[in-house]
Symmetry: C2
Subunit: 321 residues, 2 copies
Amino acid sequence: MSFTVETVKEARERIRDYVTETPLLRMEVLDEFLGCQVYLKLENMQKIGAFKFRGAMNKIQKLTEEELACGIVAASSGNHGKAIAYGAKMKGAKATIIMPNTAPKMKVEAIKALGAEVISCDAAERFEVAAKVCEEKGSTMVPPYDDYDVMAGQGTLGLEIMEQCPEVDTVIVPASGGGLIGGVSTAIKGVDENVKVYGAEPSVLPRYSVSLEKGEPTMVPMPEVKSVADALVSNRPGLKCFPVVRDHVDGFAAVDDTYMLKAMKMLLMEGKILAEPSSCIGMGAVLQGLISVSPEEKVCFVISGGNLGFDQLELLGGVNY
Amino acid sequence: MSFTVETVKEARERIRDYVTETPLLRMEVLDEFLGCQVYLKLENMQKIGAFKFRGAMNKIQKLTEEELACGIVAASSGNHGKAIAYGAKMKGAKATIIMPNTAPKMKVEAIKALGAEVISCDAAERFEVAAKVCEEKGSTMVPPYDDYDVMAGQGTLGLEIMEQCPEVDTVIVPASGGGLIGGVSTAIKGVDENVKVYGAEPSVLPRYSVSLEKGEPTMVPMPEVKSVADALVSNRPGLKCFPVVRDHVDGFAAVDDTYMLKAMKMLLMEGKILAEPSSCIGMGAVLQGLISVSPEEKVCFVISGGNLGFDQLELLGGVNY
């Protein structure tokens, strides 16, 4: 498989009629806080509130009529599940989302409201259950990140960045398994190899920092205390994502929760933008001093999603930036 | 005084180098909630976090070197005071802001941080104190709305709307004394007389609804319980604003606090945008059914400001939309 900017461009044509071209805003008011010229790619304003819809839709668009008729399956309690449910609905296909029986009722109801069937099971058994559904019904399972079509779909937001802000110097991307940063970095370097691309991951789950150091995809231990970055929970890079990321990304920062929350509160109170804690990790990396930027540098932060409950704003009480 | 779209265009040239051209976003995710095609003019991303900077800067730009040297005065504990302080700083002039001694310490410190002098006094005496400062020092007092230069400055955001979204059908503007809606309606009707412009004001302070009914600027009683719209507190239309608004605005809605808060929470949780309660009043008017819109109608809501403390988010606890 040769995964290049052309793969991403093809994905873009495939999903163009379904996906929102999200705003990229110059956000001067944050310059003094972050020490650079701040641009935000607002993927929290994507359909379903997160970038995951791009990859899901690219995968779904590649299915034949026959495959669509057999349904689509995803194992996810988060944005990936929502994205598959929404994309399937758009194509008139049936989605089955496998969710852990510990998932909050609100999330289950949100998925059901999109017309999907929800199967609850023990978290540890979710992939087994998903495989069983696929076997029984001939449905297609869509993985959350370790897949070239998914990666290509996510990468389309990189192409948009390069069109909306061709003068950008640096792009900072939240990272987990590597679907988003794999696609985005490939797209950006394919358009302009001089643009720097950095990844930001939680310091308690530094799967890319560790794997790049070792030179191979490496599993890191699950932390005892979970990070607030509840969308960045992979403990190993995707096997397809890893070489793509390795070849295109200039570096990784492993960011502490404290700095994600500072960034989230700053983005909300100064920038007037609500984002998930996970999505603020790039700004957190700069606030923590892990990625060096300069006052004239045009830095685009990918704000990858905005799905959180009102109660989660309590996280920001007492946080200073 | 002939106040026309040309007056607003002149203001625009005068303040162009100082003011941010704020984003106008198509916000599809809110369509189903509001029953129309939703566009947002994000003046909460203006310098100082509110539209007030436009009018203040237009006034300041018209001052001579000599006048600037004598300083600028404003009586305001809110966005107008911040706007004057910031504008004065940009021009190297001294600002004196008269604030009621009941103003929260945070607001006083914010104004001081912009380099302004703050004089605290009894709220009832604030205009007297301001007049005294002007007399002693020869400073220029800038009124918050009842002034053609201020109105023209605010109107520049209407010109931006017509450039950023020339296909707009309807614009809904928060209203208090009438500086914003006077300027914006003049600009919009001057560019395209077919665009409808509506004002939205708190139902407990319906100064325009009452005054337009009576045919003259009319004082309405101050409510016993204050509205959450703490930036829309005038109890009478500005005398200069009234005829301008009367001649250009298609109608007013008097909106209940409940609907402002529903709109504010919806804008935050679905649209991912933080705005002041006052700024959500236009969306509140539609939610309350006071302004009729249709699914194909392109409706631009002016989100006039975003200055609020984190604690004020408590207002949204328990609010459903």
